[in-house]
């Protein structure tokens, strides 16, 4: 037992001490947060001042397109050809051309000419505004008050509530939950592949280094394998813990500053929509809609706050460790059987395939969390670490979780046992192209 601790200690510290570990642990969350911040920053950056010259042949929009905070519209009396010809003489950034038959079916397209690409926000705004105007225009043409239509529309908020057999009920916040579940599932998938491959590479390194024969004259091969697997698992757990702590610190910092700005931006966008609605719209509806959209945003944040993160983290931990033990034993067996990196591919495929299947399953599980794919996927140890995590935040009966965990434990005991038998023969086998058939034979060899 003492020797296993020695092996664990070595595997753990040799990795923890590496610079790459430190870099990954610190840089990981920083990169994620940084990427996130960059995305927000970039999306705010493309709002360069736009001066749009409108050539409106239909005359439906003449002096009737409202400006927003960065787009200004000008309506000089000029023909399209002339406008294009003089484009570079003027300081307009875009020319908006509206054909005469815009309001008829089979209309010609509206065109936006530009010097520099104006960005998505501009065309988005243009389309919104014009569609709205046309809509109101057509309603008016048919003698319908737009308010009547608007009043007829009512946004509805659907709350999902599950009723259990014993009469308990639980409101589930499906959107946020399924997102969290999916993220956890993907994270497990990534962790299992990365750390499984590390186990494999480490086993192979010891074998090709020929250090393994010295070690197995002191400890049993199984001890070496288990020690290595546990040591690397601890590295994974450490890294995960560092990430968890760092990201929670970072997100608090980010949400204190950036998030405030994001909410402010969101509000601004809502107001922008209001500008569009302003024409001929009624105040109380406006307020209602405003309240509606705010409510939705707040709700998602509240959903996230209301989530029991300790439960999710605990389950994440259990399924990470269980799934890792299940798969890394298989990876160790592969590592022991092969001599060179180039042989890895053919043997890795069958092992990573179930993981990829689990990942694909989890997409369908998100849509149908209690279907048969979800059920069986979360029971079978090959896929349960990923699939169960997707299901968990949406509420899974306790008996299913327990069965799944028991099956996973039984699964990793079986794979570890099998892997141990392949491993002890494999690590001493050199210069031989191995096949699956051969490896299965090794299982029956006497230690």
């Amino acid at each position: 037992m003492n020797k296993i601790f020695l092996i664990i200690w070595r595997e753990y510290f040799e990795r923890i001490r590496k610079k790459s570990f430190l870099v990954m642990s610190i840089l990981g969350p920083v990169l994620v947060a940084g990427g996130f911040a960059l995305m927000i920053w970039l999306s705010n950056q493309d709002k360069t001042e736009q001066k749009v010259l409108v050539v409106d042949e239909s005359m439906a929009f003449y002096k009737n397109i409202p400006d927003n905070d960065f787009i200004r519209f000008y309506f000089p009396d000029v023909k399209l050809q002339q406008a294009i010809k003089d484009f570079y003489k003027n300081d307009y950034t875009c020319i908006l051309y509206i054909p005469y038959n815009i309001a008829q079916s089979g209309n010609a397209p509206v065109k936006l000419f530009y010097k520099k690409t104006p960005g998505f926000a501009v065309s988005q705004y243009l389309r919104d505004v014009m569609e709205r105007k046309l809509y109101e225009f057509k309603l008016a043409a048919n003698n319908i008050n737009p308010d009547v239509i608007r009043n007829a529309r009512q946004s509805i908020h659907v709350v999902n509530e599950k009723i259990y057999e014993n009469g308990d009920s639980k409101e589930s916040k499906t959107d946020a939950m399924s997102f969290i579940g999916f993220a956890c599932g993907v994270l497990i998938f990534v962790f299992l592949t990365i750390y499984g491959a590390q186990v494999m590479r480490s086993v192979m390194e010891e074998k090709t280094n020929r250090v393994v024969e010295i070690i197995v004259s002191s400890v049993r091969p199984f001890q070496l394998m288990i020690g290595k697997i546990i040591g690397i698992a601890l590295v994974g757990v450490t890294q995960f813990a560092i990430w968890l702590i760092l990201s929670s610190v970072l997100t608090t910092a980010v949400s204190a500053t950036l998030l405030k700005k994001i909410t402010a931006d969101a509000n601004k966008q809502i107001e922008q929509k209001e500008i569009i609605y302003k024409q001929g719209s009624n105040t109380n509806i406006k307020e209602l809609q405003k309240a509606d959209s705010r409510l939705e945003a707040i709700e998602i944040i509240n959903d996230l706050k209301g989530l029991d993160f300790t439960e999710i983290i605990l389950c994440f931990f259990i399924y990470f460790v269980g799934g890792y033990l299940f798969y890394s034993a298989l990876f160790a067996a592969i590592g022991s059987a092969i001599d060179s990196e180039s042989d890895t591919q053919q043997f890795i495929m069958p092992i990573t395939l179930p993981l990829v299947v689990a990942y694909m399953m989890s997409i369908s599980v998100m849509q149908n969390p209690e279907g048969s794919i979800a059920f069986w996927g979360s029971m079978i140890p090959f896929t349960s670490p990923v699939v169960m995590l997707v299901r968990l935040p949406l509420g899974v009966p306790l008996w299913q979780v327990c069965t799944s965990v028991v099956l996973l434990i039984a699964g990793f005991i079986l794979t570890t046992w099998l892997a141990g038998r392949i491993y002890r023969t494999g690590i001493l086998m050199y210069g031989k192209k191995v096949s699956w058939k051969e490896m299965i034979k090794w299982i029956s060899y006497k230690g």
């Binding site: 020797k3 020695l6 092996i7 070595r10 040799e14 010891e206 280094n209 020929r210 250090v211 024969e213 010295i214 070690i215 197995v216 004259s217 002191s218 400890v219 049993r220 091969p221 002890r424 001493l428 050199y430 034979k441 060899y445 006497k446 230690g447």
Partner: protein, 315 residues
């Protein structure tokens, strides 16, 4: 008394037999050579003694008791293909392996210091293994093998890969360790080192032991009444005088001085030969040719080869 006794050990793999009913006795405080061509089963036997693999049949006794897992701390093993963790520091690595053999950290530390000083490698302690030359790495490996003061030391091809200076260093350490009571098994192809170092040998070929015993005894048994003699005088006279009792195998003449190798026939003794030739020539030297381990090795392995083909024909 035997320190190690291997009794009727067999080991089979899926498509070949690595060891067939092999038994050897390794006397205490001796140097025991395990000989055999490549693929004969030496490494399989060594792995079984090291408890890396288990025999299908037979048993191994250490000091009269059945080999048990905790006995690994009494055995030191230097494999033929040996390596170290490249990225790990020399000192930490040596400490790690010593602890794996069951030594306490403090004990290992103390012993390592002594050996590092002895081999003049104290300032390597904090270097990574990959920074060391091959010869330096070999010294580290040797220290790791003997650091826990094993009563049985197993060296698989210890001199392969060692440069002459290190090989000599290791040779001296082996002799020194035996003096202190260690029993040493080593496998080798180098017959010169067998004659120089080994007290006993076992020859394994095609999974079977075909010869074992004390080196001196074996060489005596295999001597075939062949003598080298140098003399001054008439070569014809010499051959005529001895014609009835011996056979001339080789001759080499330099002027009046002749060196010949002769094989005595039947029960003729060297004394009888000398009596007959002495009147005609002047003897400068007369020496029995004892077959080298190399000769015995080749003869034994080849004879089995011939036997093997014959038996194939009869099938």
């Amino acid at each position: 008394m035997s320190l190690l006794s291997v009794q009727n050990v067999s080991k089979r793999y899926a498509n070949h037999t690595a060891l067939k009913n092999v038994s050897i006795e390794v006397p205490e405080q001796s140097i025991f050579g395990l000989l055999g061509p490549n693929g004969a089963g030496k490494t399989s036997l060594i792995r079984i003694i090291n408890q890396i693999t288990a025999p299908d049949e037979g048993s191994i006794l250490l000091n009269g008791k059945k080999l048990a897992p905790q006995d690994v701390s009494r055995i030191g093993y230097l494999p033929e293909e040996r390596g170290l963790y490249k990225k790990m520091k020399v000192g930490e690595q040596a400490l790690y392996f010593a602890q794996l053999k069951g030594m306490s950290k403090a004990d290992a530390m103390g012993k390592l210091k002594i050996w590092f000083e002895k081999f003049e490698m104290v300032n390597w302690w904090n270097k990574k293994v990959e920074e060391l030359s091959k010869g330096m790495q070999q010294k580290v490996q040797f220290i790791i093998t003997i650091i826990h003061n094993p009563s049985l030391l197993i060296l698989d091809e210890p001199f392969s890969g060692f440069d002459p200076i290190n090989a000599n260093l290791i040779r001296n350490e082996i002799l020194e360790l035996r003096k202190q009571g260690t029993t040493i098994i080593f496998s080798t192809h180098n017959m010169g080192s067998v004659e120089e170092l080994c007290d006993y040998i076992a020859l394994i070929n095609k999974s079977e032991k075909i010869l074992d015993g004390a080196v001196k005894e074996i060489r005596k048994t295999y001597r075939s009444n062949i003598y080298d003699t140098t003399f001054k005088g008439n070569l014809m006279g010499f051959t005529n005088a001895m014609w009835s009792g011996g056979e001339l195998l080789e001759k080499n003449s330099e002027g009046e001085l002749h060196t010949v190798r002769i094989k005595l026939t039947a029960n003729n003794t060297p004394n009888q030969l000398l009596q007959t030739v002495l009147p005609t020539i002047e003897i400068h030297s007369f020496k029995e040719v004892i077959p080298s381990m190399n000769d015995i090795f080749i003869a034994k392995v080849n004879s089995q080869e011939v036997f093997g083909t014959q038996s194939n024909y009869t099938e």
